[in-house]
Amino acid sequence: MHFGLTEDQRAMEAAVRQFAEREIGPAVVRAAAESADGVDWTAWRRSASLGWLGVGAPATAGGLALAAVELAVVARELGYANAPLPFVSTAAYAIPALGALGADDLVARVLADGLAVAVVEDPEWVADATGAGAFLAIDGGVVTWHERDEVTVTPRDSLDRTRRLASVRLGAGQQLGPAHAVAPARLIAVGALSAEIGGGLQWMLDRTVEYATSRVQFGRPIGAFQAVKHHLADVLIRTESSRSIAFHAAWAAAVGAPDAEYLASVAKAYCSEAALFVAGRSLQLHGGVGFTWEHDLQFWYKRALTNAVLLGDAREHGLRALALDPGIAA
């Protein structure tokens, strides 16, 4: 019975955090938001060369052959930094899916070239498509691979400028296998996205506590007032709980637990709702300054709102959890 991370996982967590602090500060996020495709390609190439894209790839394709928990660790840290990187779609969804289909050659290419891969479930609403070098489409029972030049991408005017949505028109593509084969990969992606949300919530909590401690009104830091404290206590509960359930779901996916799909839906349902809650309270507690373009909160706020609806929103996953409810956990 051990909920904590192993020593290796903790080392990985520290390495990603250090990388993010050094190379993805708020200025990098802001620059990416104003760039053509919303991605910071320098940081992306660096994270590819550090091996994190291959965390969930089979060793036969040059990956680290690790699993859902490690991906959640990396995703959480990148979420804390609001990294303008398509990590979850590429590393936690496309690569595990390709691995499950035995497409080692494509995995090797993604890793070697640092290819950003967008996963297409609904062609009308595709995240990370604007910067993608290739597309993995899971549609109509079949999984297909599409090179960039075979796809028409129409960017949408997206709220989150570092994780933009687009509609895509795909060609025939290369058939890789049946869609059911990549179902376990989707659980890994849902767990990692939940972890990324949790990281972003932690950043918003930390910054809002700082603000409430330093902003003085009526002669006291506003954090001394109960109305503010109680908002922050509720934010803390959502933030900590998001961490707990995301890692729980990731672990279940990693060991192939029978309730892994159920727990993935529980995690995404909870984290999606928590995202809206924490983003909303953080904005409220920052007062007018949080509503400005100049303030960094906007990036985490917008990412939270966007992540809440990617790979299924709270309502969809909540109903899915009801349908899958396995009863009292052993």
């Binding site: 019975m1 051990h2 909920f3 904590g4 991370l5 192993t6 928990v69 909590l205 506590v209 409430a212 401690t213 006291r220 830091p221 954090g223 001394a224 109960q226 503010v228 404290k229 109680h230 922050l232 206590a233 509720d234 803390l236 509960i237 900590e240 709980s241 707990s244 359930i245 890692f247 729980h248 990731a250 672990w251 990693a254 727990l263 529980v266 349902a269 909870y270 709702e273 309502r315 909540g318 109903l319 959890a321 009801l322 409810d325 009863g327 009292i328 956990a329």
Partner: protein, 386 residues
């Protein structure tokens, strides 16, 4: 992350399960046995007390006590697993919870050898029912402002004041109480933790009828009640530390059992909600929240098992379960309509549960106090007061 129990723990679970399967009381079938103590009739009380004795004599209630006091010297995991198995089988809970969960750990840590030998056996067998005497009419959330006085008279302390919200006072034999022994010391510093016999002339029990009609609480008037100075636990004027340690000891041991209870409530809730399309999302949220509660409990438990300091998740638990229970019973009454405005006999009376849930966000630290604690002690925001 690895949420499986060790083979030793699984072996202990099998032992507990086997004993419970063989000894579980038949009379408990079809009755609500996890409700508030003190509301039951005399016959049920006698049956519950006997069941407590049987568990106590078999050693299940003293798993963490050292062998010299009749325990098995096991760790917190044993309590966790035992409580969880009891919840799974739905067997009645012990009738001496204040004694088992609060007083026994205090005696083992702060008590004299004489105090341990006199008081521990009666806790395990329920021969001596203990009441908690902390809250007062004017000291609720602000417990350190308590005013019940204890004045020395020869070898005795003479105690005057009022204690309130006392569970099981009418059936209780003894009380452990926080009393002010130094009226000149500041707040927390002048308080002692004393044990006193409730069956004496200076003690008057006034039952308090609750919102739902039950009599589980009482006010205890202490008017010259006496207890020997030897019944102070820990240092005179050091009672605040003793009480705080008592609350700490319980960390982690009931969480999984509560998860099992919530799952059972949820199963019944799902049945009455049925396919009601307007209630499916609220039902889903209820389910999701139980599983998140479990994840938090496992995380907290994992830290306890490793002797790590309590993380923020431990402080979250009380708010989480009390508000989950409130929301679940809200939903039940929402879908029941007029039927939810009447009491019904049986295993699950939603109206009783609904009213019980209103108490859950008040006792053992109100939701407002819990939020202050999280904001001040975990997030480090400026203190509101003392």
């Amino acid at each position: 992350v690895d949420l499986r129990w060790s083979p030793e723990h699984e072996a202990f679970r099998r032992e507990a399960r086997a004993w419970l399967a063989h000894h579980r009381p038949a009379w408990a079938a079809g009755r609500r046995v996890d409700g508030r103590l003190g509301d039951e009739d005399d016959e049920t009380w006698a049956l519950r007390r006997d069941w407590h004795r049987r568990m106590g004599e078999a050693g299940w209630l003293t798993l963490r006590w050292p062998a010299e006091y009749g325990g098995r010297g096991l760790g917190v995991a044993a309590d966790v697993i035992w409580n969880e198995e009891c919840a799974r089988l739905g067997v009645p809970e012990p009738v001496n919870p204040a004694g088992l969960r609060l007083l026994a750990p205090v005696l083992l840590r702060f008590g004299s050898d004489d105090q341990r030998r006199r008081f521990l056996p009666g806790i395990a067998t329920a021969d001596c029912i203990w009441c908690q005497g902390f809250s007062e009419p004017d000291a609720g959330s602000d417990l350190a402002s308590l005013r019940t006085r204890a004045v020395r008279d020869g070898g005795d302390l003479v105690i005057t004041g009022r204690k309130v919200w006392t569970t099981l006072a009418e059936r209780g034999d003894w009380m452990f109480a926080l009393v002010r022994t130094d009226p000149h010391a500041l707040r927390h510093r002048g308080i002692s933790f004393v044990l006193l016999d409730l069956r004496q002339p200076g003690v008057e029990i006034r039952p308090i009828r609750q919102l739902g009609g039950g009599h589980g609480f009482a006010e205890v008037i202490l008017d010259g009640a006496r207890t020997p100075v030897a019944n102070v636990v820990g240092d005179v004027n050091g009672g605040w530390t003793v009480a705080a340690a008592a609350l700490e000891h319980e960390r982690g041991s009931a969480g999984l059992a509560n998860y099992v209870r919530f799952r059972r409530i949820f199963a019944d809730l799902r049945q009455i909600v049925g396919d009601d399309p307007g209630a499916q999302h609220a039902l889903a949220r209820s389910l999701v929240d139980i599983e998140v509660f479990r994840a938090n409990v496992l995380r907290s438990l994992s830290a306890v098992l490793r002797d790590e300091p309590p993380g923020p998740e431990a402080s979250v638990t009380k708010l989480f379960w009390s508000e989950w229970y409130r929301d679940a019973t809200d939903l039940a009454l929402e879908v029941l309509g007029p039927a939810g405005r009447t009491f019904c006999a049986g295993e699950r009376d939603w109206l009783v549960e609904y009213l019980d849930a209103r108490a859950g966000t008040i006792y053992a630290g109100t939701s407002e106090i819990q939020r202050n604690v999280l904001a001040e002690r975990v997030l480090g925001l400026p203190r509101e007061s003392g």
